[in-house]
């Protein structure tokens, strides 16, 4: 590169003070970002990517320091600058687009004011000049009613709008470089797709360089030209994006990419490759390669000698002793499902311990585990007291007249964005919420809506895996205590000896060693906690396990482990799943049958294969198209839902009307769409006839969005 880079970091080391000593967190990181370049910084949680990103702005926690190296913006070192000098650079040349826009905006000021204060500060504009500049910026980020939006307070805007405001704030001063710190993580996938397009366009328009921090390899691939992979505070590889996804060289990158489930059809027999072990803590890092303990091709040398970050070809750098062999394709880096290969006794056929054996039912019995018919749930009824105090009515119908059947030994995937009602539906089924209407049967026995009305025998047959690993286990009970209690309560073991036997069996089933019995949850990683939660759910061999986003709080490499375990346990324990997720890739890996929900209603259902292929509901189509793919061969359709979701409760038409890119007219707004049968029980709820839908969707041309600008709801 002949051009002067915008930002350079050279051998940067950052330490944290822990007690009385300094612990090295970021180790020897070098990075350059050229003009107009969007540079991706990718890493899992704990890799130090956010610390690094902020440090590049020379913003450090009070207990952190730069112990080595240099950061240069346009060739000028930032480390020698005083605080007032940095204040002139921050917000003018170097801008941050933060992770959670609502938290990053001051709740007490209008968004217009918060954008305007930047130019007032840096360009000395008057109040009115700065304000009209702010409105103009809001227009630039495609907000239609910018004047009105500028007057609003952050909490009055949707997540997507807040993100637009923050990017407007960052671009207001035409900065040299933007640091985007996971800016779309909190957004729904369809909103994320729109915001990513906007970022790309605006960055191009403003000729700004950017560092894009993300854990999502798909997003990095869509956004960036070059990328740096961070692991445990060290750079593992740095290269142009195209090459990395086509042919990754560093074993860690290979493992990461491999562990992402793909939207593949008929993948239900495959297993996801996983990276063994867990990332070491900062203090545990040895003197060799930090990845060596988890690397499938590590040599003895890798444990003792730290590799250098070497340039292999133009702009492509890798920190690995064995890159030559990998690059020459003489050394295959294969990740299998490492858990399946573990030596622990596991696949010893059917259960033989003291659990009361279930009757072996032949595979694929055409029998339903669960039938839920016409379930509805409304939240926010008014109590007498509230009515007395004249509090406003705030009813939300979360689930509207939904019917769901789960086949035996199969997985029903429930897909939808936030607000789709998928979690509420699941909670009604397990009984944590009481459905207002509807009839449910479990194994042909009537299932009362209220948990307290359900007999013990039925309770035992439905268990749940929760989303948040941090509160899924009681912090004051050991793993053994909680499994024991579960077994005893659910009456799953006949004698104390059998209880202990079953606990050991369960732990083995989720690949945790026996000594976990005496551990407390705070000694476990997020993935391990989720594994214990799986063991607990399966303790009494339930017929139906409801998993509510069990992997959404986990890193991809950990997610792969959980998904594999879910697959194993289903086969081994003879259970069925109701698997809820917003992540279509994770769902497609497990589910045989899919239901797509939108605002409390089912839009489409069918086998995974059918739902993923055409014809599909326009909403399903948009969801699939919005997933940022990591597959270099995949041709992305370009469907974007520009409009904000319509939240109004009383509507007679299709809930997706107004956002739907294939809307055909008034009929969509006014009339409830009919169910259309596509064969094999594949059903789509849309006004557009299936033939026509199929024609439209096979066309391949990008769908022009119905609206150019966002209209605030």
């Amino acid at each position: 590169m002949t051009k002067q880079p915008i930002l350079e970091a050279e051998h940067l080391c950052i330490d944290y003070r822990l007690g009385n000593q300094w612990v090295n967190a970021i180790r020897d990181v070098s990075l350059t970002i050229g003009a107009g370049e969007i540079h991706g910084l990718v890493g899992e949680s704990g890799s130090g990517k956010s610390t690094l990103a902020l440090a590049l702005m020379r913003y450090l926690a009070p207990n952190a320091r730069v112990s080595q190296g240099d950061i240069r913006l346009d060739g000028v070192s930032l480390l020698s600058k005083s605080r007032p000098e940095m204040e002139r650079i921050w917000g003018r040349d170097l801008c941050l687009v933060p992770q959670d826009p609502l938290a990053a905006l001051n709740p007490a000021y209008t968004v217009g004011e918060q954008i305007a204060e930047v130019t007032r500060q840096h360009q000395g504009l008057s109040k009115s000049e700065a304000w009209s500049g702010a409105v103009a910026m809001l227009e630039k980020v495609r907000i239609s009613d910018a004047k009105a939006v500028a007057q609003k307070y952050p909490h009055q805007l949707s997540g997507g709008m807040q993100q637009r405001v923050v990017i407007a704030m960052a671009l207001n001063t035409r900065p040299r470089l933007l640091i985007l710190d996971e800016p779309t993580t909190a957004l729904d996938v369809t909103t994320q797709a729109v915001i990513l397009d906007l970022f790309r366009e605006l960055l191009h328009e403003h000729q700004a360089a950017a560092l894009y921090v993300s854990h999502d390899l798909g997003v990095i691939r869509e956004m960036c030209q070059r990328m740096t992979v961070l692991y445990c505070g060290e750079v593992m590889a740095s290269a142009p994006v195209a090459g990395v996804y086509q042919r990754p060289i560093h074993p860690y990158t290979i493992g990461l990419l491999a562990s992402i489930p793909r939207v593949e059809i008929g993948a239900s027999n495959t297993r996801l490759p996983t990276i063994p072990g867990t990332a070491p803590s900062l203090a545990q890092r040895g003197q060799g390669c930090v990845f060596a303990p988890r690397c499938p091709v590590a040599l003895d040398r890798c444990y003792t000698e730290k590799p250098e970050l070497e340039t292999i070809i133009h702009e492509r750098m890798v920190k690995c002793h064995r890159w030559g062999e990998i690059d020459a394709r003489t050394l295959p880096v294969d990740y299998k499902d490492f858990l399946a290969e573990s030596k622990e006794p596991f696949f010893n056929a059917k259960r033989q311990s003291g659990t009361e054996a279930k009757q072996d039912v032949p595979e694929e019995t055409p029998e339903y585990v669960l039938k839920a018919q016409r379930v509805s749930k409304t939240f926010g009824g008014r109590s007498l007291l509230k009515r007395l105090l004249m509090q406003p009515d705030s009813r939300v119908q979360a689930v509207k007249d939904v019917s769901v059947n789960v086949r035996r030994y199969s997985t029903l995937g429930l897909v939808g964005e936030s607000g789709s009602g998928k979690t509420t539906l699941a909670r009604c089924i397990v009984g944590l919420e009481t459905a207002d209407e509807g009839r449910m049967t479990l194994l042909d026995a009537a299932l009362p809506p209220a948990l307290t009305d359900r007999p013990a025998a039925l309770k035992r047959e439905i268990q749940m895996v929760f989303q948040n690993p941090s509160d899924t286990l009681n912090p004051y009970q050991t793993i053994g205590q909680m499994l024991r209690r579960t077994l005893e309560r659910l009456g799953a073991a006949s004698s104390p000896g059998n209880v202990e036997k079953r606990i050991a069996e369960l732990l083995a089933a989720v690949r945790l060693s026996d000594d976990y019995v005496n551990r407390f949850p705070n000694e476990l990683s997020g993935g391990e906690k989720q594994r214990v939660a799986l063991a607990r759910a399966f303790a009494a061999s339930p017929a139906l396990v409801v998993a509510d986003e069990p992997t959404s709080a986990l890193d991809v490499s950990v997610q792969a482990v959980i998904l594999n375990l879910l697959k194993d346990l289903r086969a081994r324990e003879g259970a069925s799943y109701l698997f809820i997720s917003h992540d279509l890739r994770a769902v497609s890996y497990l589910a045989d049958w899919l239901i797509v929900m939108y605002q409390g209603q089912i839009m489409e259902e069918g086998t995974t294969e059918h739902v993923y292929s055409i014809p599909s509901h326009p909403y399903t189509e948009a969801l699939i198209s919005a997933i940022p793919s990591t597959d270099p061969l995949e041709q992305n359709k370009h469907i974007r839902l520009i409009a904000e979701p319509n939240q109004s409760t009383e509507r007679s038409g299709c809930p997706f009307a107004g956002r739907c890119p294939r809307q055909i007219g008034r009929i969509c707004e006014d009339e409830a769409p009919p169910w259309r049968e596509a064969g094999d029980d594949h059903r789509i709820r849309c006004h557009i006839p299936l033939d026509e839908l199929k024609k439209l969707q096979s066309n391949g041309t990008p769908v022009q969005a119905a609206l150019d600008k966002v209209v605030p709801a």
Partner: protein, 316 residues
């Protein structure tokens, strides 16, 4: 917003109703006969009957309560059992005025100082100033008022005498000098109780806001630290302090029993002590109702102010 105010006023009415019933119920458990207690052991049955008839105690307790409530609402707060059977209302209102004066003086002394100390301690977290404020407020918070008051009266005896400050406070006339002279010692005593409390809450509030991502964002927008602190942090951090001040106000009106007793100041609190000792039913009722009303109104005012200053509440 209007709906909100209406709801709050309704709630206030409900609160007062419950409180009055509660207080009335409490007075019913008085061991022995009130009339006999007041008239003495030697009172004749006729005297007692007259007394009961005079004060409406000759009907069933629920009936008594309803009668009292009806009269209270229209402004007839009853008569004192003792001391010449004066009407309760003027007596209580006069004392309320006195209590208000002392409360005002205390708030003027304590709030600015406490907020300032709390702020400084938070902004200089983990420095000696912070330590000093923390330890100081810890030592002072919860120290019984009579101890502080006695230290102020006697411990600083020399200085206080030199200044000519009275150890018995009277209601000040309307000169600033007299206000300071009469009220400074009781107000200082109350300030000691409030200071630690408000300072600690302010410190916690500022520290909590400082940790929020919008502060980092404001800094990284290139705003000078002064602007970040004053415009962004304090604006949000001091909001909860409003509520704290309102709570303190209620306490200052009805809770200064001990301070008023030590300084012989004729406020509501010392009147209540007398009323309790005399089983002076209507007097007690009136004082409690008044204090609760004022406390609730102060809270309402604080909530409204909070709502006006906080767009999240104002705009839902």
């Amino acid at each position: 917003m209007t709906g909100y105010i209406i709801r709050r006023v309704l709630l206030l009415g409900l609160t007062l109703l419950v409180t009055s019933a509660l207080v009335f119920a409490l007075t019913q458990i008085v061991p022995g006969d009130v009339a006999r207690l007041i008239l003495g052991r030697d009172a004749s049955p006729e005297q007692i009957a007259t007394f009961k008839a005079q004060f409406g105690l000759d009907v069933s307790p629920p009936q008594q309560y309803v009668n009292w409530l009806g009269r209270f609402i229209v402004g007839d707060w009853g008569r004192s059992f003792t001391g010449g059977n004066l009407p309760v209302r003027p007596l209580v209102l006069e004392r309320l005025g006195n209590s208000m004066r002392l409360a005002l003086m205390t708030l003027l002394l304590s709030v600015p100082l406490a907020v300032f100390l709390g702020m400084i301690a938070a902004l200089r977290e983990n420095t000696w100033i912070d330590g000093l404020v923390s330890i100081g407020s810890l030592a002072v918070v919860g120290l019984p008022e009579f101890v502080t008051a006695l230290v102020l009266i006697n411990g600083l005896a020399l200085g206080v005498r030199e200044l000519g400050l009275p150890s018995t406070s009277m209601v000040p006339n309307n000169t600033l000098e007299d206000w300071v002279r009469q009220l400074i010692l009781p107000a200082l005593t109350a300030t000691f109780v409030l200071l630690g409390y408000i300072a600690r809450l302010t410190r916690a509030g500022v520290l909590e806001e400082l940790k929020k991502p919008y502060v980092r964002m404001a800094t990284l927008k290139g705003l000078p630290r002064r602007v970040v602190i004053v415009k962004h942090v304090l604006r949000n951090a001091l909001l909860p302090t409003i509520t704290v001040i309102a709570i303190s106000f209620g306490w200052l009106i009805g809770g200064l029993v001990v301070i008023e007793t030590v300084f012989n100041y004729p406020g509501l609190g010392s009147l209540l002590v007398e009323a309790v000792k005399q089983k002076n039913l209507f007097l007690m009722q009136a004082i409690v109702m008044l204090v609760v009303t004022i406390y609730a109104l102060a809270n309402l005012a604080a909530d409204l102010l909070y709502g006006v200053l906080n767009p999240r509440i104002r705009l839902g």
